[in-house]
Symmetry: C2
Subunit: 368 residues, 2 copies
C-alpha cells in the first residue's frame, strides 16, 4: 500500500520514558523509580482535583460536553477574554496541529529556533511544510528576522520560555519582532511554561489578551500539563482572535477532551494557591541544581521553567550519563537527539533532587 | 489572515446535545433530562471501572504511558492479534483521521454510503478529498462496486452496522466485495457497534483477525464509547497489518489518550459480563420501540445497534418533533441534517424508554 509521500521520511516523537517502562525493562521497584524527564509538576495533583475526578467517574458512559462551555468560560474569565477567543485541545500539542493544518501545505515555510519543542517540526513535516531554523540553538530574534526577510513564513513558532533549553525572550523584544511580521503569517507563542517565567521575572510575562489584541495574527498557547499538574489529563488551550479560533474549530474533531479532563482543568483553575506554591518551591529547588552544576564545573542554561539543561564537555557523553541514570531508576532526558551533548532534568521535589544528585555523583564516579 | 483553501466551505460536526446544554438553555432540572441522542450505554459505567478511575486520580500530574503497552496487550489478547497490529485513538474517530491523513490529499477519492457516520466526510474534506457517495441511504454494495469501478478510491468506508441508520451488511457480502478491491485502496471497516450486531445475528460478525489477515489493505475500527460504556473517556482502536499501523504512528500525536482513559479501557475489557448483560437488555428494550412504531404506523429500520431510526411521513416534521422533545428534557437526534425526515433514538433503560414513549405521545398529540 502506498501512503502520502510526505510521510515517508517522518520520524516519530520520542516521549520521556514512563515509569512503567523502566519497571518493565529493568525490574526496578516502581516506588524506587524517579521520573525527572517530562517537566511534570512533582508536587502531585491538587487534592481538590482528585476529589472532583472521583466524584464524576460514574458518569463516564456519557460523552463529554463538546461545547466545553464551563472550561472556556473559566479560562476567558481568568484571562479577561471572551470564550469566542478560546479553543481547547488535547494538550496544547493539539492546537499546534490546528495551527499547522490551518495554514500549511506542501511547500509552506515554518520558522523556528534550532533547538525547540520537537513537535513544531514533526507536525509541519506531516503536511509537507519546509522547516527553516535559526543557527543558534536558543531563540535569537535577529536571526529570526533575517530568515523571515529572506524566506517569509506561513507560521512562526516562538517557545517562551523555550523547551528543552529553558531560556526566555523578553516581552518587549518579542513585541518589537512581531511588529515586523506580515499579518498573513500566523505567529504561535507557546506559553507552556509562562507561569514559571513570569513568576521569576516580570519582564518575560506575555499577557495573552494584550498579545492577541495587539497582533491579530497571533495565537497564544497554554497548558494544564505543567504548573497545573495535569499531564495525565491532556488539556491545553489556544487564545486568538475569533477569526482564527473559528477556523481551528473546522479542524477540531468532536469530543477531543475527556469529561474528566474538562472537570479536572476547571477545578485546577480554582486552586491557584496550589499552583503558585508549587512554582515557588520549583525555583527554590532550582538553586540547588545551579549550585551542583557550579560545583562540578558544568555549564547550565539559566532556566525560566521547571527544568534545567546541563551541558557536558567532551569527557562526558550525555547519552551514556542518561542511560546509566535510567538503570538506577532515575529517568531524565538526554538531548543528543537535539544535537547537543547535554541532559535536561525536571526540577523535582526536595527529596527527588537529593536522589538525583546522589545518583549522578555515582554515575560520574563510574565514568571517571 | 488567509487559511488553507480546503477549509473554506467546511462544516463542523454537530454533536448530540449534552445534558448540561439543555439544563442551561431550558432551565430543566438535570435529574429530569434524559439523553437518548448519542448512543451511549444507558446502564452506566461498570462499577469496576469507576473504582479504578478513583484509585488513580491522584497520579494525574504524570503524563500517560505513551507506549500504551497494557491496553494494546489487552486488546491483542482479546482479538488474538499482536500488539504491533494495534493503535489506540482518542475515540475511533481519531483513527478515521489517521486513515485520511495517511492516504488522502487534494483530489483523492473517498467512497462511502449516502447516509453514514458524518465524520468520514468531514475528515476527508479537511484534506481536500472528493467524496463519492452511493445513491442509496443504506449500504448497497452493488452501488459501491459500480462507483469503485468508475472512479476508483483511495479510501472506502464501510460502517458495519451503520450509524445513524442501524442496518448491517452480512459478513459474506462484505468479503465478496472486498475481494474486488485493489490492494492500494484502504478499506476502513468501522465496527463501532459490532458488539451489538454480532450478538443479534452471527452472520453480521466481522472477526478483526480474519479480516486483516485476509485483506492486507483493511483497517478494523472499534470503540469503548458504545457497548463498553466509556463515551466520556475517548478511547477507540484500530487493527491492521503492521505496515499500516506503523504509518499511522507517524501521524499520531504523542499522549493522545489520558492516563485515566487507558486504565478505564483496560478495566472495562476485564468486565465482559457487564457488557454482554447490557447488550442483552438493549435488544429486549428495542422490541418495545418496534412495537411502539408498529402501533403508531411509523416505519423503522431494523437495527443491529443500540439505537433505532424512525421515519416520518409528510404529516410530521422530524425537526419539530425533536425540538419539542428537547423542550421537555428528552434529547434525541433529528436526522434532517442527513437529508431524512426521521429521528434516531438511542435505546435507553426501561425507565428512560417509558419516559420517551410518554413524551413522544404528548408531542404527537400537540402536533395533531
Amino acid at each position: 500500500m502506498k501512503f502520502n509521500k510526505v510521510l515517508k521520511n517522518l520520524s516519530t516523537y520520542e516521549a520521556g520514558k514512563p515509569i512503567e517502562l523502566v519497571v518493565r525493562e529493568y525490574g526496578i521497584d516502581p516506588k524506587e523509580v524517579v521520573k525527572l524527564a517530562s517537566n511534570e509538576n512533582p508536587y502531585g495533583t491538587s487534592p481538590k482535583v482528585v476529589k472532583k475526578i472521583s466524584s464524576l467517574a460514574k458518569n463516564m458512559y456519557l460523552y463529554p460536553d463538546d461545547s466545553m462551555f464551563e472550561l472556556k468560560e473559566a479560562l476567558a474569565n481568568k484571562f479577561q477574554l471572551d470564550s469566542k477567543n478560546v479553543i481547547i485541545g488535547s494538550g496544547s500539542d493539539q492546537i499546534l496541529e490546528f495551527c499547522i493544518h490551518a495554514k500549511c501545505k506542501t511547500g509552506s515555510n515554518v520558522l523556528m529556533a534550532k533547538t525547540t519543542f520537537a513537535m513544531y517540526e514533526i507536525y509541519a513535516k506531516q503536511v509537507g511544510a519546509k522547516i527553516i531554523k535559526t543557527k543558534s540553538s536558543q531563540h535569537n530574534l535577529k536571526e529570526f528576522s533575517k530568515l523571515y526577510k529572506k524566506h517569509g513564513a506561513d507560521v512562526i513558532f516562538l517557545c517562551i520560555p523555550n523547551n528543552p533549553l529553558g531560556e526566555c525572550l523578553d516581552k518587549k523584544d518579542v513585541y518589537k519582532f512581531l511588529e515586523s511580521i506580515d499579518k498573513n503569517t500566523l505567529i504561535v507563542v507557546d506559553g507552556a511554561y509562562q507561569e514559571y517565567a513570569s513568576f521569576k521575572d516580570e519582564s518575560k510575562k506575555i499577557c495573552p489578551k494584550d498579545l492577541i489584541n495587539t497582533f491579530p495574527n497571533a495565537v497564544y498557547l497554554g497548558t494544564f500539563s505543567k504548573a497545573y499538574a495535569l499531564g495525565g489529563m491532556r488539556v491545553g488551550y489556544g487564545f486568538a482572535q475569533e477569526k482564527i479560533i473559528s477556523t481551528f474549530y473546522k479542524i477540531r474533531a468532536p469530543f477531543n477532551i475527556t469529561t474528566l479532563s474538562l472537570a479536572a482543568a476547571i477545578e485546577a483553575l480554582k486552586d491557584e494557591d496550589f499552583v503558585q506554591d508549587c512554582i515557588a518551591k520549583n525555583f527554590e529547588e532550582m538553586k540547588r541544581y545551579e549550585d551542583y552544576a557550579n560545583q562540578k564545573g558544568f555549564e547550565y542554561i539559566p532556566s525560566y521553567t521547571n527544568f534545567i539543561t546541563i551541558r557536558f564537555e567532551e569527557n562526558l557523553v550525555s547519552k551514556v550519563v542518561a542511560q546509566k541514570l535510567l538503570e538506577k531508576g532515575m529517568i531524565i532526558r538526554d538531548l543528543t537527539g537535539y544535537g547537543m551533548n547535554a541532559i535536561r532534568i525536571t526540577i523535582g521535589t526536595n527529596e527527588q533532587n537529593t536522589k538525583l544528585f546522589t545518583l549522578l555523583d555515582e554515575v560520574l564516579e563510574e565514568l571517571k
